[in-house]
Symmetry: D2
Subunit: 349 residues, 4 copies
């Protein structure tokens, strides 16, 4: 940590900073400059609360040099973590799994049809919401426990791994019982009580980036899960708030190389929520794989025009099949490959 | 709702939209234009899922004319809601209550000293976190239940009303027992399970705007609480994410007149989190009152340089006392007044 | 400047950074830490191009400690600059001048009526565009030179000082001939050729903050003008791009205390462009003065519903008169006062 | 255009809107709804100034249905425009040209070495700034006219087409004399005087998206150039301002499919400014091609660690050569190909 003093700070003020740093149990190294003095804090273990120092007389600014997270950092663990949610469905290695399915589980017929369609096209995992966080209290909120049972049924029929969202403690335990991976949605990325719960449950977690979360925020939220004892965390870029109404969200693909540099955790892309518009899903899914994403999660619905939610951003099954073909070639262009649906199928067989 | 067709949409595509709208139980009014046709959907009760229509062939865009929220709307209830959290502490009328206190409850000595100082300066309610949502899992997380008991003690000693945050269901019930108003923090603004819980508990709720929430999002979150049966909701602007690192957040005071126009709920300002820098708190608190805020919530600490959290944005008691004096004059300039601490004191006496 | 090395950077890499800093003519101070080493660059005169160092092996990040601007800085000149554009119309002292008038000069009748109305209500300067930067090439682009002559006529009739925008070199010279203050609009804030031109002309400049300019960017643009020899610069907050469509722009009032801390230049607020909605102009103008603005620039039109541009954000003259009354009281609440229109009138008499 | 009335607007107010629309020469179609009335304006030719209507009594909101631009629209011209800046260097068809080179022209030796290196690796055009818009007035501002002459020399030696920036009218004429394509930088995207000038000059223009420009703004700026008689415009996504300091800009690749949908103009990607960090350039360049970019512009420097500007985001020649190989495969995956350097070379031979 570097404490930058105001231009013209007095020797007493500089001493005050040095003394406070020492009282806190760290070493202080004053560094006089041509315009102003800075004081380095040495020995920061990531727990220093800079706010106490910011409040001292003569301090202009406190600059953080150490990262505030620890276990998620690539400095803590240089080799990439591989998160396996089901046999053959691993994120973070050379293979790129594709997760696909409808926004919500609507009925047995719909989820089974969806599962078969996405499996045929090359997906290895099925998405589908049973608990739906909707902006409006009057919108369809999902089938709840019944939805989870239908997802489990779809797994039996197709061998696809199941990824679905939990919104609270009770839901997290239910999802853990029925699914292979617990999704934490963007709106709950900083719901720390929920993060601690899924940390303790120990099932793989798909953690979506919040609407306006920095990568630093995302990694700190993941740190909550690791700190609770669970390192099976897959991060997910799903678009952030922007000033341009041309798309629902701004899909920030730079998040992918940034996370790969800072953390050993895998990161996947969600081009459906990332853009909110069907016509943008295919190009942005391709871009995500080209940028190095460790997986893709895409909304596909057998009949989008009849979907109870997010119909406008769901692909038709045939569009999805064509996309998978392109993704296979792009993955190959950068020395990777798509996870083969055969593997998961075998496990189910 | 207005469905804008693509330039060159065929009559069949327009018919398709008309038919779908009618199937959904609404009336459709095609409106041919010089560049393109639009189809009005008449009879929207706020529940139409536009996504189904967006997915139709030939549709360029769906434009929402009705607001997606209902009970929070000023069209639903023209007169302003007044939320009273304790005798003499009412938000939304002519009087402006001031809530002040430390970021966290740290000890009996600290919270009692804080309460006395802010009361002496003119505050009518005490803030102070017992459950703290911290970005890092390694930062001080608050005293929990013990903190709530200390807040209750401070109320006994000073007569101040108590406002404190809850982060989950269990915490919400505990806060409801000990405090006068349950705060939902920015990070939990879209934690719908928690919103439903505080809706059912029925205590007054202080709902903070999320990091990148639009006013529309904020009102929809409030709608969750009203829909669960609780209309005692105070909204709070506390700064949003911005591109400028000059301040921690961008304090969006325009939120105040916008909310007053769209909703009957009161809205207050939090210049401490709104800026994150002590030197900015005073000017922005003044600005909030001048913009029409129905209250102010400010961090004040007896010794900010020793605070366990947020010391850098906490006012010294004497700075706060001077601020209250200025706020009193500014309130008078626009025909309002500060809520008098005497009232609450009397209740305590 | 502080060069933060990667965790595990080798001694050779650290030496490389030290050597490069020394080659560039500065001193290097390595500072080993518990997690990583940092190297301080001492003697930075503000011209160091950090990019060369960022490119070295083993460097994680370069952190700037010195500010990149100089002459605009309060460290360079502690006392506030007072910019006087006409007798009695000074920005940056205790008095707060109000600039008001229509978006565009439309006709002699309109601009004279506007000038008389705003003068009667308490304005000391007249705004009105002769050259209009419009997003669409098909929108009304202003009366050009004819507009400038009408503004000069309005000055003769009312004694009001004139503030109007220039969009290019030729326009800047014309504006300098006819007006008292050259406005550089938000879209040209980083048009460095134009900044150099107005720097050389030497007339007072009103520099508006760009759509997504940080305060640092704004100060650097002002630095261009000062570096060209003109220190008569008034900064102006006019709203920035945001994610919330509820208002046209997000009026960032925190800019006011931030600029006051970092720079000796005055800063005023433009609540008309800052919000883009008539109903928000009054509360936000009040908030700007309460936040410490050194002036206000407001759109007022005798008949907004017939305005050729920006009618929806222009105040009616009577609304403006009421606003001025409130601003007078608010200014008084914080120990300031409005600049009296009498002064300017006297000069004109 | 749709005029949405306030809930409870009176018949007189609705009549007022209808009358105003008719006075303006358009047809009005009132559309009563269950919650509020809307009035459609029919016959909008894109020139309606909505501000006049927004100002009427009882109006809640004005919603634009027609796009504000015309000649750049894909509705105006369905087939894609192909912009050819030199023989074999065409943007907007199946082939994807790569533009590469240093941030600034620094010396004859440097620009010739750069040109040879990028040509050998597969680029067909050379970038390099002679006029540099720098945030600080004290930073290196480019070699000016001398730089243009060196670029022309590099073209003679290598056959590469030349793309370089102009910052004002005088510069635009100089660039037009020496180069094949005039670049308008992000900071000048709304410098309408300059846009009109390059529209009249008639040379191909590379128009970069502004820091916080919506796609709508970008298209309107292009409309200025087309309206002045020049339809040889290439758009360029180069990253926008964001809240996340992890990268210098947020590279918004969704701009590519959005522009392709709305306009017939080609759009390319600039991953160097788009991210500002060397390690992110390669993945984001790949992502841009996968997203459908019609070209790529990349900073490459023979010795980035000695560059006078932007060294930290410049690729080493060998990194660039490997990138081109990957881009070739990705282009092939989606049915496109890279423009061959042979073609341009032949033209030079």
């Amino acid at each position: 940590m570097l404490v930058v003093m105001q231009h013209g700070a007095t020797p007493e003020q500089i001493d005050g900073v040095v003394r406070t740093i020492e009282e806190m149990g760290y070493q202080a190294r004053p560094m006089p400059g041509s315009q102003r003095t800075a004081v380095g804090l040495v020995g920061n273990d990531g727990r220093v609360d800079s706010s106490r120092i910011e409040a001292l007389e003569g301090v202009a600014e406190v600059i953080h040099v150490s990262q505030p997270y620890k276990q998620v950092s690539r400095e803590w663990q240089p080799e990439s973590t591989i998160v396996t949610i089901a046999p053959g469905v691993s994120f973070g290695g050379g293979e790129i799994p594709i997760i696909a399915g409808p926004c919500s589980v609507e009925s047995e017929q719909q989820i089974i049809a969806s599962a078969k369609a996405v499996r045929a096209a090359g997906a290895v995992a099925l998405r589908g919401g049973a608990f739906k966080p909707r902006s409006s209290p009057y919108a369809f909120q999902g089938l709840g426990k019944k939805g989870l049972e239908l997802l489990a049924l779809a797994r039996e029929e197709t061998g696809l791994a199941i990824v679905t969202e939990a919104m609270d403690d009770e839901g997290a335990h239910l999802v853990a019982e029925h699914a292979d991976c617990i999704q934490i949605g963007a709106r709950n990325m900083q719901n720390y009580s929920l993060l601690k719960t899924v940390g303790k449950i120990g099932k793989p977690v798909l953690l979506k980036r919040g609407m306006a979360a920095t990568i630093n925020d995302l990694l700190l939220s993941a740190e909550y899960i690791l700190a609770a004892g669970n390192d099976q965390v897959i991060l997910c870029e799903r678009g952030v708030r922007s000033f341009d109404p041309a798309v629902r969200n701004m899909f920030d693909l730079t998040a992918i190389p940034v996370v790969h540099k800072l953390s050993h955790l895998p990161i996947i892309g969600d081009p459906s929520h990332g853009t909110g518009i069907r016509g943008m899903v295919t190009p942005m899914a391709r871009a995500a794989v080209a940028a190095g994403a460790d997986g893709i999660i895409v909304e596909v619905h057998p009949t989008p025009e009849r979907a109870l939610s997010d119909g406008g951003q769901s692909l038709y099954p045939e569009q999805f099949a064509q996309l998978v073909g392109e993704l296979r070639l792009i993955a190959g262009s950068i020395g990777r490959s798509l996870a083969a649906s055969g593997t998961a199928a075998a496990a189910a067989g």
